[in-house]
């Protein structure tokens, strides 16, 4: 690796880290204002214009709070869990093509890399719940492990069927191959399964059983205060952002879109519009639906999502085979 690319990668890593915190702030603000307006109230209004500064202020306040570590808690793992939860959400942003130019490194196996790294989030949540020596946290941790395993499989299969269509695992190729037709048209069921499984992957309502507020007080976050709690929040928002970015890349044709006034940035802007549109739907779903019960969650994954994903994969493979036979 010559020095020029290492510098480029180093700068882009710093930019991505900055982007992650900026996205967490924007998403947090978006969520609280949207929640407010969904619920016929205003949401934060007091600080800055219409509460713009509310999320940074919350972050600084959490910085200033004392981080309590319970005596019987596993000290090392307790401190490591927030860091472990943040790292798997930083790495996938390296591979996601925001626009033809804006991509840190284009790996040939980008899709597999992203899905593999994403699974680490579950380990972090489990460590957090187990190590804080709190019954509610432990139950939240166990729930999150079972839930994420169950919902990882449909995501993999749907991603596989998209890779089958694009005949490549590189995210850039996938976006390129959607120039003619977005994959959402070819794979509507796949898109639905992906969004539902993605929602449950990042523990968002109506599948937010690991930190079910009414059952397990604060779930795996019960013992965390101060900066550790805010790290978990940032990890959750970034994980949500990655799920939406992946959905945009796989189904909504990445950065493709009609020309916008700022010609050279239009592709990145299109990408962000699509990603934040999907995030809006996630926030919308969170503030409307009640929480699913634990065994219903499991049944839904094993009895409905996985069979449908298998059927979808099979039909796609059949379609590609016939297409290959006819046209080449």
């Amino acid at each position: 690796m010559d020095s020029e690319t290492t510098i480029r990668i180093f700068i882009s890593v710093v930019l991505v880290a900055g982007f992650v915190f900026a996205n967490a702030t924007v998403m947090g603000y978006l969520e609280r204002k949207l929640a407010g307006h969904f619920q016929r109230r205003l949401g934060p209004m007091e600080v800055g214009w219409h509460g713009i500064l509310q999320m940074p202020i919350d972050g600084i306040k959490l910085l200033g709070k004392r981080m309590l570590i319970p005596k019987q808690a596993e000290g090392l793992i307790f401190r490591l869990a927030p860091v472990i939860s943040l790292s798997p959400v930083l790495l996938p942003l390296m591979v996601i093509p925001f626009s033809p130019a804006l991509q840190v490194v284009d790996m040939k196996v980008g899709l597999i890399f992203v899905l593999a790294i994403e699974a680490f989030g579950t380990i972090a949540v489990f460590l957090a719940g187990w190590s804080s020596n709190n019954k509610y946290a432990m139950m939240g941790a166990l729930r999150s492990v079972a839930q994420n395993i169950a919902y990882e499989i449909p995501i993999l299969m749907v991603a596989l069927s998209v890779a089958l269509l694009a005949r490549s695992f590189s995210l850039r190729e996938i976006v390129m191959s959607q120039a003619a037709l977005w994959f959402i048209v070819l794979q509507p069921l796949g898109f639905l399964i992906y969004m539902v499984a993605g929602l449950s992957e990042c523990n968002r309502a109506p599948f937010d059983l690991p930190e079910a507020e009414s059952e397990l007080t604060a779930g795996y976050l019960t013992e965390y205060s101060g900066i550790a709690f805010s790290l978990f929040m940032i990890a959750e928002y970034t994980h949500m952002f990655i799920i939406c970015c992946l959905a945009t890349v796989l189904f909504l044709g990445g950065w493709q879109g009609p020309e916008l006034p700022w010609a050279e940035y239009s592709s990145a802007i299109w990408f962000l519009i699509k990603a934040y549109g999907l995030m809006f739907c996630m926030v919308w779903v969170r503030w409307t639906f009640p929480r699913v019960r634990y065994d219903q969650l499991m049944n839904f994954a094993w009895k409905y999502l996985i069979p449908f994903a298998l059927v979808n994969l099979f039909v796609t493979a059949l379609g590609v085979y016939i297409y290959e036979k006819l046209f080449s």
């Binding site: 016929r40 007091e46 202020i57 306040k61 604060a218 976050l221 013992e223």
Partner: protein, 195 residues
């Protein structure tokens, strides 16, 4: 209650250190600590504007606390929207209701579990002074929650109106940052600039 609007020298009065600048806390305005004064002010301003209350309703005042959080009175406008169930992440404990002898150790333990800096609002006559139950036949009700934990703001009323709780949050903000936080919608048109 020290006079509003005038900032106390020394550290902001957090839940535990009451009133006089206690010697252990360095005086921020002199010597080596001087540059940290700005950092302390910023932190105070952030703490004042994002007071996350603990879901801790005891009796009737809990209903008024809930309606203060709802759409009409909307505590969310002042950053107090997130009702955290776990004491670890809450930094404002609103004691809303009657504390009786069986509940006293629970209130104390909850207060100790909250992370510093933390504040307490005693909402309603029962939390302030035992309210209608503090009489000669009283064998179970603790007459005032300040017998258990240090209280920052008292709200009278049985139950106090949700505006009373909002006013308590403003008073607490003023106690933290020394400046009565302006409430744009409520400010009288003529006194636009004097806050």
């Amino acid at each position: 209650m020290e006079n509003p609007g005038q900032r106390q020298p020394g550290r902001p009065v957090s839940g535990t250190t009451l009133g006089a600048a206690d010697p252990a806390q360095p005086d921020m305005d002199r010597g080596l600590w001087q540059p940290l004064r700005l950092a302390e002010n910023i932190l105070d301003a952030c703490r004042a504007n994002s007071l996350w209350p603990l879901t801790f309703g005891l009796s009737c005042c809990a209903i008024e606390m809930m309606s203060a959080g709802m759409a009409r009175f909307d505590m969310a406008r002042y950053g107090a929207e997130v009702f955290r169930p776990s004491p670890r992440q809450a930094d404002l404990m609103i004691v809303a209701g009657t504390v009786n002898k069986k509940m006293a150790p629970v209130v104390k333990r909850l207060y100790e579990q909250m992370a510093e800096p933390k504040w307490v609002i005693a909402l309603g006559n029962c939390a302030v002074s035992g309210g209608p139950f503090a009489g000669e036949g009283n064998y179970a009700v603790i007459e005032g929650v300040d017998k258990l934990i240090p209280v920052d703001v008292y709200v009278a009323g049985c139950p106090p109106r949700p505006e009373g709780l909002l006013e308590a949050i403003f008073t607490l903000q003023e106690k933290i940052i020394g400046r009565k936080h302006s409430f744009p919608q409520n400010r009288h048109p003529q006194q636009e600039e004097n806050t």
